[in-house]
């Protein structure tokens, strides 16, 4: 299989959709003439024209709402919100319209909207540009929330997003666009609600998604050197969540750590923890831990930002504590 970047994987699915379904069009700020702030749509305006690739005003709310409206009318818009930070300006449209209309209309209306945005921190963009709010979207019934970790995820999950009749919030990680991985050339779909077991292990389950999966994986390799075999789960989607897969793994390892960039307090990790202890209480040898971002607005300074973000070393340390806690 060819090795391509996360960015290229996304481009392949977007191009496939534009080529094969005229109901599909893209809108967003600077996705056209500028080429996309993360270059995901670079060249698309020239290739597909203004009808299919629309540069919009800096008006997140109406752009998102117009995407919802167009979806209500039978099209399959892909709205790019540039970054998750700006989704705050469109969140009323997402929460009050996109997520609710199918239900409120008693099934009369469907909103097959794909809402792409880049999230995550680590590039020193400062407090207003470093949010990881995927947990907020995952809290909203009616939305599906996708968080690809690899190029393979990116291509396959985005393909599924376009075939889903419900609104899909598709959150990419700013730090992963240049990451490479093996990806089949032909189009394929990856199912929502199925976590990937990235590494098998028996001692502890490390649960991550998007960027944090890679930290978990590297931490697992370090732990292996300590003789600790960690299982690594890549959630792929937060809503639906692969409860079965998570619980099955923890029932095997009896210990779990949830890793996420987002603020710890009130973050999505709490949901994962709650479900595990509800479903696998008798299997737990130790409390389920969370290795999350610090509860602080993200500072710009490199050292402070790194101090605020979960690090492999933190995961390793927590895992060792967990296991010693038990042998103790």
């Amino acid at each position: 299989m060819p090795e391509i970047t996360y960015r290229e994987a996304l481009r392949q699915t977007l191009r496939y959709q534009l080529q094969n379904d005229d109901r599909v069009f893209l809108m967003g700020e600077d996705i056209g003439a500028y080429g996309g702030s993360y270059a995901v749509t670079k060249g698309f305006l020239e290739e597909f024209g203004e009808r299919r690739v629309k540069d919009t005003p800096i008006s997140e709310s109406v752009v998102t709402g117009a995407g919802i409206g167009a979806a209500m009318a039978g099209l399959r818009p892909m709205v790019e919100l540039m970054t998750i930070n700006f989704s705050l300006l469109a969140i009323d449209q997402i929460v009050n319209n996109a997520s609710k209309l199918h239900y409120m209309s008693n099934g009369q209306i469907t909103v097959p909207l794909v809402l792409r945005m880049a999230g995550g921190a680590g590039s020193q963009l400062g407090a207003q540009h470093s949010h990881s709010l995927e947990g907020w979207f995952a809290h909203v019934p009616g939305l599906k929330v996708v968080v690809p970790a690899t190029p393979y995820d990116a291509k396959g999950l985005l393909m599924t997003a376009f075939d889903d009749e419900s609104p899909v919030v598709f959150i990419e990680h700013t730090a992963l666009y240049a990451a490479k991985g093996e990806v089949p050339e032909e189009p394929y779909r990856l199912p929502f609600g199925r976590a990937e077991i990235m590494r098998q292990g028996k001692d502890v389950t490390l649960i991550g998604y998007s960027g944090s999966v890679h930290q978990a994986y590297r931490a697992a390799q370090q732990l292996a050197e300590e003789g600790i075999e960690a299982e690594v789960l890549n959630l792929r989607t937060l809503r639906p969540l692969d409860i079965e897969g998570i619980v099955a793994s923890v029932r095997k390892t009896n210990r779990a750590i949830v890793i996420e960039d987002d603020w710890k307090f009130g973050g999505f990790g709490g949901e994962v923890v709650s479900i595990i202890q509800e479903e696998a209480f008798d299997y737990l040898d130790a409390p389920i831990l969370r290795c999350s971002g610090s509860d602080v607005p993200m500072p710009y300074s490199h050292d402070l930002e790194q101090a605020a973000l979960p690090q492999e070393a933190d995961i390793v340390a927590l895992a060792i504590d967990l296991l010693e806690g038990v042998t103790r």
């Binding site: 109406v62 239900y103 409120m104 009369q108 639906p240």
Partner: protein, 346 residues
Amino acid sequence: MTMANGKSGTLTKRDGTGISDDQAVALLHRMMEIRRFEEKAAEMYARGKIHGFLHLYIGQEAVATGAISALRDNDYVVSHYREHGHALARGLDPKRVMAELFGKETGVTGGRGGSMHLFDVSKSFLGGYAIVAGHMPLACGLGLAEQYKGTDRIAVNFLGDGAVNEGEFHESLNLAAVWKLPLLFIVENNFYGMGTAVQRVSALVEVYKRAEAYGIHAEQVDGMDVVAMHDTVARLAQRVRSGDGPVFLEAICYRFRGHSMSDPEFYRHKDEVERWRALDPIEQMKRRLFDAGVIAEADVARMQEEVDQIAQDAAEFAEQSPAPSRESLMRDVYARSPKLEEDGRA
């Protein structure tokens, strides 16, 4: 319907536009139906059959009735939470609308939406929204979709004067203008947003002038005159359909009742209300048709009986309808995705 006299076309303008006597009578009938329906709804609210928020349209009937009568059946109509009038003018079944207010399974959304969220896609009635100005972006999207498909279907977006100060109003008008979307915005300026008078919160009191800042053609019309509403919207809808981009219409009107059933109305004087009641769109239209000799007292009496019956039947239908089953609670949170079911996934 047979007229008191043989005359016809009394309300037809010299330029041939305007409406026939039958249409004129139909407009009056529709306004009477809406009025009676809501009086009944108010009664049912008082009797504890309807809960939550109930925003009556009484006094503004001419706006929805005249405007919607001038549209094609498949033009999209998108309104806010004070939308009983728009829904009925669009031809939604009064029984199913009342049942919706009762929260019954037979309601237009099975009791899930209630008064603020009426939907009937089969009639291109796309709702019923409770977030002020939050429906404007959706209307833009509906217009965008038809433009994209290359049809001449347009979207008509009703909103209130209070909505013009929301950011989404601005974003929507700008986008509609830049992309020349087939949209007709109709602001129902009834002078108040809840208890707040327009001039206390809007830099520009003449709402229609706001549209000019986007280069959007804008007009003002007497929203208490159903014929003026019909003629104006007929003309403007045609203009929008031609592809020149959005048009903005400000209909001057007045809400005779409180903002909702719980409004103490501290903010306005009884006599202000009285002055406007004198301009009641229904009474105006009756007088006009009397004077033109199109109908007589007897016709009105019969029409009144008819709409009384419609309202009464609606209430009885709603009363007798079953409540949605608790088992149905989780249905339709997500839409079925046939393509994904195929490969047995998601």
